[in-house]
Amino acid sequence: MDKDLKSLLPLLAYLLAIITAELLTILINPFWGVLCNIVLLFVIIIHSSRSLTSAPNQLIASLALVPLIRIISLSIPLASISQLWQFAIIYMPLLLVTIVVARILNISVKQLGISIRFSWLQIVIVLSGLIIGAVEYIILKPDPLLTDYSWDKVLSYSIIFIACPGFIEELIFRGVLQHTAAMTLRRWGIVYVSIIFAILHLGFLSWVFVFFVFFVSLYLGWMAKKTGSLFGVILAHGLANIILFIVMPVLLIQ
């Protein structure tokens, strides 16, 4: 077998394993989903610990973040915690793990895209979050997250949406994973990461939404690469969630 092709097989296998874990979580039982993710996490750690010098092994090591997202979000007992604080509690350990993975893989803050490089393109990227959020609302039509639209509640949820799904998911997907995937898969790295990102949205039970998320992820990945900064995509991601869960539901209800 061609050596390049052989090195791609594990990546394909991990992709299938991530899909399986997500389907188990959604269709069978979250317990089996968590169990599958724990097994996957162990396999990833053992597989990548053999050597972290090769690019494919670095990508595999960074894939550990994907099952961790599910293990943390599904296993922390949050029933008595409000939705607002559930975000903070889930994403704090994810941030710490992301930092540990970035350090182990020797990815600098600059390589992660943590820099504010002002350009008009960044403004366009941020504003594209408005369209992304509106389209997502048309597809999903979720219930409004807020019933009390006081300024403090709207501001609190907006900050959480930018800091948690915005900042930390972009740091994981467009920062760590896109960096390691690009080293192995070159331009296909963005596609590989976008497939994983879309798979993690299967829980919304809408194929249209999953496809849309895939294309949004491609767009955000490409923009992060082009600007060399996560600044625009973090704000676009946060803004899209604000439009999806706060602005659009109340606009249409009124």
């Binding site: 409000s82 607002l84 994403y91 930092i99 020797n106 409004p144 403090d152 609190s156 800091a163 900042f167």
Partner: protein, 291 residues
Amino acid sequence: MIEYKQYAPLLGLFMLAILFVFLLSTPDDFTSRQMHFSTQLHSGTASDVRVNASLELGDDVQLQSFPYELSDFIGFDQSIGSLKETLGADSILFRGYTNEESSQLIFLLIVQSKSSLSFHSPRGCYQALGYEIEEESEEIIHVADPSWTPTHLINYEALPDWAKQELAVSPYGGYLPVNKIVVSKIEGVEIKERRVALYFYIKRWPSSDTIDMIRVSMVVPTSGEYEESLNVAREFMGYTVPLILEPYDGGDEQILILSILSWGVGGYFLIILLLSICLSLVAFPKLFKKK
């Protein structure tokens, strides 16, 4: 190997965001006990009202303690049969109530289901029982209780004339929208039975998927107007609401930044300290740069 301190700004920025959210929260924002009165099962409406429970509907013992006497209505237990399974309910109260004045029999159904997905709305239930839906709309009920003030009401303009007249004379109690459904059982071309039901939901979304439904129904004449019966059902539902719910009055709860600042110098010091910790993490690599 890259040093950990390079990543400190990431942690600092995140903690700064969480600190802002913390300072903007009220003590009630940390827990998931919020409840809302709503006419919709799966979505929110502009007229949803935040409420507190005065009766724990998930506790069968408390549920059965619901009064048998409501104003001049006297209640008696009804056979539940397979109603619990049919509705997908986890706890249930089913009673009949009558009063001498109207001599009409009113059925009160209170159910709680741990999952809104497995719960069957009156629309689906009546259809499954062979009824045809004749009419669906919203009705306004008057909650005759001093704890419900005119501020606990839907938009004044949306109130029906009778409610506006009541308010002009005596602003007592609140007004809430509930669902109305009129169904008939038809055999051939003949209407055998006609029912009118008023119902609403109590939701805990997004923190919990548990849903409560309170339904008041009665048999009405098979043809013509049913306004008289509807008035009785509306009046009866107005008596049940304050026994189950009380209005949420969150006006006294201050956001934490105001509470902390009210401590005086200590409060200011604490906020400056918390901000300084986050900002020093953001600036950590620059503060401790190797020469």
